[in-house]
Symmetry: C2
């Protein structure tokens, strides 16, 4: 129906007759002629109608914003002085020769120009088809499409097979709440929507398919805090007969390719690898934002002896931690700013935020330090702190002292916040691998072991005996890919031996009966020649969000749901007929 | 962990040391040496262990079928006389230098060699990971992956964006039963799993995204007759500003590319196009298998006057049809074979199957015909039949006379059956388009119009007035792609005008209130500048089944369900805890 996209026209088409289809972005009547900015997926172009062609002109007079038009016209250079260098098509315009109104439009309930983002999210979601007309939204969906395209091409070239796994399946063991689907043919029984294809991809390796991938829809019925969606998408991968090093190398090659092809960004080669222990020590978390050039410095040994229980207590507690965090030029911080940071770390359970402003340490020593806590610290402790942090005049040092978990979370978060707010970020894209995770963490509530990843993660081959003797010290063959402080992917080499899997279930307090009921088919499959295998999954929504600079995963999904898991556009979920419930052998509970 | 796939080795690797990982297909001890056929995704290779290396040899003695091995060895030509020309690696063998058992296997409950297909489907589904080790199954999944890969590449190159639409959504209007998902956050309300992304893809066109595709999971809670699955996959496509001709041309180009790239098959260019009316007339159905060179020949005009009510009645009935079907060389059919076909057409409601054997028409005329019905037919009628069917001596002519629907279904099916059983098929792959479908068909039960495709299908632009005056005569802008008698894809140009959509809803007996409740968001969207658009969907499972020559769609899915919609492997669906039901505000109905 058309010869070109609007946004593709430029000086090279000068003199050509073109047919365009698109939406009216704007109509202006100026100096006796009508200007219509016509928009399609590729961009905007200006069309001029002059009164010489009376019938066409009068048709053009009637169009309004968002009308759908088919326009025949001739490309010509814009008159001198009217070239718009901000617009890719800004050197030319179209002289309108014919105009057909393909469809009219009522006045949209939201603006579709640069003020569109001012519309409430409710309006944007209810009229999603209008919100998606905005170039910004289209560009994000296009990037998403390019990202999956590049992933697929890479994986196809490397011998991976794209294999679909079921959506109607059995409850998976990811720990979150499942969405359930009642079965009509098996009354009283339910399918679960998959939280991930974890067990199926392992079964595909047991099937000898060697290299699997799928861009897979996953479901979690969670209380939607932060930026979660009931359904989300992951690039799901599993391979046989590969070590974790080989797999990590291959995966970072893929991610580098993505960034290069889609965004023209060159990521480091190789990605740095940090052990979990080192990451926790230096950054207080297992997904460090390496753009922030601040680090947590352990000073417990300096504080054990001081006469200041706030520091000495945690310093002597085996579960405690005492750290310093140097903020270069932090001396500039006002009292009010410091109060703000103190409140901030409070969110993470810290009961205060001690600090020292280093005013004139070099010249004046202790007297050159400004701080409520200096009086409590010995000279040796102060000298140790200054030496270890490398603080210089003008800096500020924050302190965290508490249970290690609280220190890590609060000072870890403060580190990132300072990095962002004080303009300290170094480099735009800082990926890394975090490796050598512990197999287990202790559930403080009931002193039980919990899997740090999931129960199918393999322990290090040379630490199998630790499963017996000291499970808390046993490291796993898991790995997470982290980008700018966000975990974008993670996985592990899996357990491929029946006996080890049973041992791990036992440590996780899963009885033989429970294991049989929930994972019986997996345990059975392990007995029929399961190959060594492993894999990982990348969170596609979050990855695309990072790549496009969007602030919510809702902005990189075509039809997202609200925080209460509803679709404002289609009005789902919704009530159903009694007959449908009857067919499913269900009845609604009367609400209490 | 390995240097090569087993199946990739050949004479060019002669003398190389290789490391292989795979499964033991077979172990034979012969002449003092051990032969192991090692299998991986790419094929089989023979490994030889000789007793010189005692320790390795004794390890090799212990392996059993389906053990997982890592073998280091040296490639060498097979001794003269032992080359196996049936095996791609059959010119070489591996001299085993080292062997590591990566995992053992119990004796599998089914054979994995050429006798595997003898296993019951129950065993195959319950031990799917074993069934999938068979090269035949792997090859089908690989073809499926190659098919989607080729589709995606074609569509990416043609500017289509891959966009995901929700799985948790509102009930769609495809007519089958929805799978429902109870909402926890909206008690008493339900999501539906999509029967297709129909409305979302139309909304994407209203969003100006111009060209959309998705390889989309769809769900239907049907009684599983024939070869259906509760979840299936379609390649879903929608475009704006394209005519049906442009879209059909593009789509057949894609299908030709698929067959060429994946199977090395050259399909016709262009695909023939048949109107619905012509297809029904010549083949009795709207998805004709063009490989069968038989056609239904109308003879009602010849029969109106005969003194034989079986023919004359339907010939005079406006809803009746009388046809002849000539079977070349059908004179060979035995009485028993004809009885079999008579029974066969009975399945479709035909009350008999009249026939004439043409023994010596040329020489003897009426006397040369062998048939129970000849006596009832006039000379003129007989001559008409012979002339119109072009029958020659040795042929047989079948007849159908009844309501048109019964004649079409019974003789249409007989035509295909004869084609297959009598070895008449011409050409291997015979695609076509069927076009010019009626908008509506009458529901005989309650004399209401029903949509032949779906309620969003546009009528022909020049027949809009027929919606008022004669809806039954109004043709739609729908098109189906048919291959060898199977509909592999179908779609239409959609209604893009509010008023037309409302008019069609009204004809379909959908009240304004119902329309508002079910499709309100679509009707609203039509008022804000909806572009002309259309699309189609291809059934991926069925297409891959055809391409691989599989006889069931279960054989081209990794983890299919049974006829009662259960997964024998994972034992889904299954009962859930009372707490889970409580959270969903549901209770089970006590079974009656």
């Amino acid at each position: 129906m058309r010869t070109h996209y609007c946004g593709d026209l430029n000086g090279s088409h000068d003199g050509q007759e073109v047919v365009l289809c698109g939406w009216v972005q704007r109509r202006r009547d100026h100096g006796g002629v009508i200007f219509i900015d016509l928009r399609d997926r590729e961009g905007l172009v200006q069309v001029v109608f002059d009164p010489d062609r009376a019938e066409i002109f009068s048709r053009a007079e009637q169009v309004r914003s968002e009308y759908v038009l088919k326009i025949t016209g001739r490309v010509r250079p814009r008159p001198e002085g009217t070239v718009n260098p901000d617009l890719p098509t800004g050197a030319i315009e179209i002289l309108g020769l014919d105009l057909e109104v393909l469809n009219a439009s009522e006045t949209p309930p939201m603006q579709l120009d640069s003020h569109a983002a001012d519309a409430s999210e409710e309006i944007r979601l209810r009229y999603r088809y209008l919100d998606l007309r905005r170039p910004e939204m289209q560009s994000r969906l296009r990037t998403r499409s390019q990202v999956t395209q590049a992933m697929r091409r890479f994986l196809d070239e490397h011998g991976f097979l794209d294999i679909e796994t079921p959506i109607l399946t059995k409850s998976t063991p990811e720990g979150a709440r499942d969405y359930l689907v009642p079965s009509r043919t098996h009354p009283g029984e339910f399918f679960a929507l998959p939280q991930s294809p974890q067990l199926f991809k392992q079964l595909l390796m047991m099937s000898g398919l060697d290299r699997y991938y799928q861009i897979a829809r996953c479901f979690r019925d969670e209380d939607l805090r932060a930026d979660r969606q009931p359904e989300f998408t992951q690039l799901d991968i599993e391979v046989s007969f590969m070590t974790e090093d080989e797999l990590m190398n291959l995966m970072e090659e893929m991610i580098r390719l993505l960034f290069r092809e889609v965004q023209g960004i060159e990521l480091p080669n190789p990605f740095p690898r940090l052990t979990y222990a080192e990451s926790m020590r230096r950054f207080g978390c297992d997904r460090p934002d390496l753009r922030v050039p601040l680090e947590l410095i352990d000073i417990a040994d300096l504080m054990e002896g001081v006469d200041f229980q706030v520091f000495a207590g945690p310093a002597k507690d085996p579960d405690g931690r005492v750290v310093a965090l140097r903020l270069p030029k932090g001396g500039e911080l006002s009292r009010k700013e410091i109060d703000g940071y103190t409140q901030f770390v409070g969110i993470y359970g810290a009961r205060g935020l001690a600090y020292i402003k280093v005013n004139e340490w070099a010249a004046k020593g202790r007297e050159g330090l400004q701080s409520p806590i200096v009086k409590n610290l010995t000279d040796a402790a102060l000298e140790g702190i200054m030496a270890r942090t490398g603080a210089v005049d003008g800096d500020l040092i924050f302190f965290g002292a508490d249970k290690a978990k609280i220190v890590n979370e609060s000072i870890g978060a403060l580190r990132v916040k300072l990095g962002q707010e004080r303009g300290l970020l170094e480099g735009e894209w800082r990926p890394l691998w975090v490796i050598d995770f512990p197999m287990f963490e202790e559930d403080p509530a009931n002193q039980r072991w919990m899997a740090l990843h999931h129960p199918f993660t393999a322990p290090k081959e040379d630490q199998l005996d630790l499963l017996e003797t000291n499970p808390g010290a046993c490291l796993s063959r898991a790995y997470d890919m982290v980008l700018n402080g966000t975990e974008i992917g993670g996985g592990s080499i899996r357990i491929h031996r029946d006996a080890v899997q049973r041992q791990v279930f036992k440590l996780l307090n899963i009885s033989d009966e429970q294991a049989e009921e929930r994972f019986g088919f997996l345990l059975k499959a392990l007995r029929f020649g399961c190959p060594p295998h492993g894999g990982l999954a990348f969170g596609l929504d979050r990855l695309v969000m990072l790549m496009t600079g969007a602030t919510s995963i809702r902005d990189v999904m075509a039809f997202p749901k609200t925080q209460t898991a509803a679709c404002l556009l289609t009005d789902a979920p919704s009530p159903v007929d009694e007959t449908q419930l009857k067919e499913l052998s269900l009845r609604l509970r009367t609400r209490a």
